[in-house]
């Protein structure tokens, strides 16, 4: 596609339910990133995939959060047993190779609301 696509754009769930957020990166981009942005806060790094390397999971806030990237393309971020503090915008980005001098292309995000 022309840009990074995320779905759904909005998700409302009940506390304790599991949710899956999807990200379609730009075709040909080997690096994929997940960030979280809470109201009035900056972007919080969650996880990074680059090619076939082991993902950098250092930003995941708890073991309720996990992500996978199938076939080097689409990624799914899963949050188990959601809590109210998980409410935020979840942003996905991709870049060509994942090097430090590359710009990131972001999707419009998934607004997650946990009631």
């Amino acid at each position: 596609g022309a840009g990074v696509s995320q779905s759904p754009s909005n998700k409302v769930t009940e506390k304790g339910k599991d949710v899956e957020l999807r990200c379609d990166p730009i075709s040909g981009h080997t690096a994929l990133y997940w960030y979280r942005q809470s109201l009035g806060q900056g972007l919080e790094f969650l996880i990074y995939f680059q090619g076939n390397s082991a993902p950098d999971k250092s930003g995941l806030p708890s073991d309720r959060f996990s992500a996978e990237r199938t076939g080097g393309s689409v990624s799914t971020l899963t949050i188990q047993r959601t809590q109210q503090e998980d409410s935020a915008v979840y942003l996905c980005a991709s870049s060509l190779q994942g090097t430090a001098n590359e710009k990131l292309f972001f999707g419009s995000g998934t607004q997650l609301s946990v009631l």
Partner: protein, 113 residues
């Protein structure tokens, strides 16, 4: 610990003036610094990248400086327009994997006509 600070949460200026936004960092030695623009309900959009050996970078009405001694970057928008109103984020690569780009909290710029 590593920290990025954009020391103004909000900046209000008059149309036609120059907007100057500041990004300070501590406990980093970044080789690159990036600036992004974020509009409400959208993801950030890349604007400029500056390398540690570049003092200044320009793109149209935008100018970025990078002072590795002061550990500071300044982002300028000259002849500002109401359409420039947005949140501006600076970003650095953190320690660890190449992909760990760390963002500041942003400065919300409002340009009044």
């Amino acid at each position: 610990s590593q920290k990025i600070e954009q020391n103004s949460e909000a900046l209000n200026i008059q149309e036609g003036k120059t907007a100057t936004l500041t990004c300070n960092y501590t406990n980093y030695s970044p080789a690159y610094l990036q600036w992004y623009r974020q509009d409400p309900g959208r993801g950030p959009v890349f604007l400029l990248l500056i390398r540690e050996n570049e003092k200044e970078k320009r793109k149209e009405r935008l100018k970025v400086t990078f002072d590795t001694t002061l550990k500071q970057s300044l982002f300028h928008i000259t002849a500002s327009q109401p359409a420039d109103s947005a949140t501006y984020l600076c970003a650095l690569k953190g320690r660890g994997s190449q992909g760990n780009l760390i963002f500041g909290k942003g400065t919300k710029l409002s340009v009044k006509p």
